[in-house]
């Protein structure tokens, strides 16, 4: 399978790239910084004994470059990509966002507007190609109103809405969308936060996400227990949600 990965240098994206490379997928790595992309490409080559995957610079906060970056990613894999995976996103705690409107604006446009614009670029290429899988890492934070993830969760709720709706529109024509919803994952993004129950390591999350991408499942909670957790939370009365910190 030919896979493009935006956000492959860190966290879940790094784990996903290693799993895909280990089983022989052809990869192209997209990310903000060429230096760190090249180090990650070298890591994949050293671990697999195969040549370094190509890298393409792509910054989620520079939508004007998306078209060129997506074209470059297709070119790097000989014109064909089977799955385009977006793990890149910004995160900040609700407290930090409430103190910093600037960061709130950046987070909302990166995690929502620009991620969707990027997916639109990819969709157009997939239509020309005759199909493909667009897998986007959203979050359980977008599933239900909760105190600790009001702003970040709002961006992810909108993103999930987009991904799940687009799948309804385009699946019959071969463009399949996968909305991946991780729970709390132990990465640099969440370092230092109090750990809720069901926290998982990136490699566990990545393994399940990769299975969902292989099957092109429209929606995947990783780990799976979060489907149940969020089902319960969605049905809790607001009076309860006001009292718990979760």
């Amino acid at each position: 399978m030919n896979i493009a990965l935006l956000g492959a240098t860190r966290g879940i994206g790094r784990a996903l790239a290693r799993l895909a490379a280990a089983r022989g997928d052809r990869l192209v790595l997209l990310g903000r910084d060429r230096g760190t992309l090249e180090r990650s490409a070298a890591d994949l080559a050293a671990r697999t004994g195969r040549p370094e995957p190509p890298v393409v610079e792509c910054d989620l906060d520079r939508p004007e470059d998306f078209g060129a970056a997506v074209d470059a990613a297709f070119d790097a894999l000989g014109g064909r990509i089977d799955a385009f995976v977006v793990t890149a996103a910004r995160f900040a705690t609700q407290e930090a966002l409430e103190d910093d409107l600037e960061e709130t604006a950046v987070l909302l446009r990166v995690d929502f507007t620009h991620t969707i614009v990027l997916c639109e670029h990819v969709r157009r290429r997939f239509e020309a190609q005759g199909g493909g899988t667009i897998a986007v890492f959203s979050s359980v934070a977008g599933d239900a109103p909760r105190k600790p993830v009001a702003i970040y969760g709002a961006a992810k709720a909108g993103l999930s809405h987009y991904v799940l709706s687009m799948d309804l529109r385009h699946r019959d024509r071969g463009i399949r969308y996968v909305c991946i919803k991780p729970g709390f994952v132990r990465t640099q993004m969440t370092a230092g936060l109090p750990e809720p129950p069901f926290a998982a390591d990136p490699d566990v999350v990545a393994a399940r996400a990769l299975r969902a991408i292989d099957k092109a499942a429209p929606e995947a909670y990783v780990p799976a227990i979060w489907r149940l957790v969020m089902l319960v939370i969605r049905h809790l009365p607001r009076a309860v949600m006001r009292r718990v910190g979760f």
Binding site: S40, A42, D43, Q188, G192, P194
Partner: protein, 456 residues
């Protein structure tokens, strides 16, 4: 609630602390947090200390009292280059030994030296200059390192080796992370004939025989170590099981390379009394008699041979919330058998009983200025924390000073500074190099404040 024993050195059982809390493997800790980042250059900019996977037992990887944060390196786990022709490899400091094992064993390479757990980072292996079952032939991890990239105290990033800044290089091997933040390590992986181990285990009746048999085995076998029953007194003192191993030939090994074994988990902390003198004696008796014949041999999975305790995740929970420590020392030749017996006699006479007591003969001292091993016998025992642990460690340290030996800082939580200075004549040399690179001693640890007299 602070344990009276541990309070003397400013550590508390971590279970009794409010978050954020951070501890060594022995579950004695402080209120502090670990900052994580994939980018070590950014992460270490103003950090006081780097910490890997937190497998040092005591306070080596905890911040000094005036500081509440360390730089956690474990997300910086990229392998930057590997040459299958020579085995040369360059990695970020947060890559674990386990990653190296499971990435490269199928391709015929193994880390040149591995400690008794795979859950240590390469940066940690450098800082502790770890040794393994092959110390008598391979030396410490540092012997296989070609180059280190270090962020030193003034913020510069320096490459050092045996020819460039050799003082910094030698001080960093075994330097407990006190010379700077290790960012990248270049070293040589060992080519192995198969991924499996041929192993022999032999029951030994007493400690003198044990030391003699270890010495014999060292001449013929690349890997040796022993488990000692240190709960039995008298003639059977120091009886145990001697293990010898070598990499299996492709002809005798199973056709496919080994895969990681499933681990079992200790799901919650046992009560403090679960491991006591009686249960320890029962465990030791059963373990000593686990094999019916005096000798057994065969092909074993490398994890069973190198990392038997890794099969039990969170095994520290067996000791309960009180926490524990390990005491590891090396007793130099000559007369190592006599010294080993006296050490065990002292341990048992003062009521120290340990389910885990490991004995190993070490080869010559390595290049690292503060590197632990020296030619002689190394003994490691687990000690649970109670009212008597501090005085037991003091007594053992006094004996080790008399015997001309020294302790392994990576295991230590309770040694007093005067004892450390008495057993470490190399300290002035180390401190001279360290001050040349870090005059204000900004890079320091809870342990270096306790033992080296660094500013808090």
């Amino acid at each position: 609630m602070t344990d009276g024993t541990a309070r003397g050195v400013g550590l508390s059982p971590v279970a009794a602390l409010d978050p954020p809390r951070l501890s060594g493997w022995g579950q004695l800790g402080v209120r502090a947090r670990e900052r994580l980042d994939e980018d070590l250059v950014r992460l270490t900019e103003r950090a006081v200390l780097s910490r890997g996977l937190g497998r040092s037992y005591g306070d080596s990887a905890l911040p000094p009292p005036s500081c509440d944060e360390v730089a956690g390196t474990r997300l910086a786990d990229r392998i930057l280059a590997f040459d299958p022709g020579t085995g040369r490899i360059r990695v970020e400091a947060g890559v674990s030994i386990g990653t190296l094992v499971w990435t490269f064993l199928p391709r015929g390479f193994f880390p040149p030296v591995t400690p008794g757990t795979q859950f240590v980072t390469v940066g940690g292996a450098v800082a502790s200059d770890v040794h393994g079952k092959n110390h008598h032939v391979a030396g410490c991890f540092g012997a296989h390192v070609d180059e280190l990239r270090i962020r030193v105290a003034d913020g510069r990033i320096v490459d050092c080796s045996r020819t460039r800044h050799p003082d910094l290089f030698r001080a960093t091997l075994g330097g407990m992370g006190l010379t700077g933040h290790v960012l990248e390590v270049a070293f040589r992986m060992e080519r192995v004939p198969s991924g499996w181990v041929f192993h022999e285990a032999e029951r030994i009746d007493d400690v003198e025989t044990f030391v003699a048999r270890l010495e014999e085995a060292a001449a013929a076998w690349p890997m040796t170590m022993g488990w000692v029953d240190c709960a039995t007194r008298g003639r059977g003192l120091g009886r145990g099981i001697l293990q010898r191993g070598r990499w299996a030939d492709p002809t005798e090994a199973p056709p496919s390379p080994p895969s990681p074994l499933p681990e079992r988990v200790v799901p919650f902390s046992m009560p403090n009394w679960a491991i006591n003198r009686l249960t320890t004696r029962i465990f030791n008796e059963l373990y000593y008699r686990k094999q019916i014949p005096r000798s057994t041999w065969g092909i074993v999975h490398p994890e069973r041979f190198f990392y038997p305790l890794d099969a039990l995740r969170h095994w520290y929970r067996l000791y309960g919330p009180r926490g524990f420590t390990q005491y590891q020392c090396v007793l130099p030749k000559p007369n190592a058998p006599v010294k080993a017996r006296r050490f065990l006699e002292l341990l048992t006479s003062r009521g120290g009983a340990s389910p885990l007591c490991v004995i190993k003969d070490c080869g010559p001292q390595g290049e690292g200025i503060l590197s632990f091993p020296m030619e002689g016998i190394s003994i490691a025992v687990d000690l649970w924390i109670d009212d008597r642990t501090q005085s037991l460690v003091d007594a053992l340290n006094e004996y080790v000073i008399d015997a001309g030996g020294r302790i392994y800082l990576t295991k230590d939580a309770l040694t007093r500074p005067e004892h450390f200075r008495a057993m470490e004549p190399r300290l002035p040399e180390f401190e001279a190099v360290r001050r040349a690179w870090d005059p204000d001693l900004t890079i320091r640890s809870h342990q270096s404040v306790r033992l080296f007299g660094d500013p808090p």
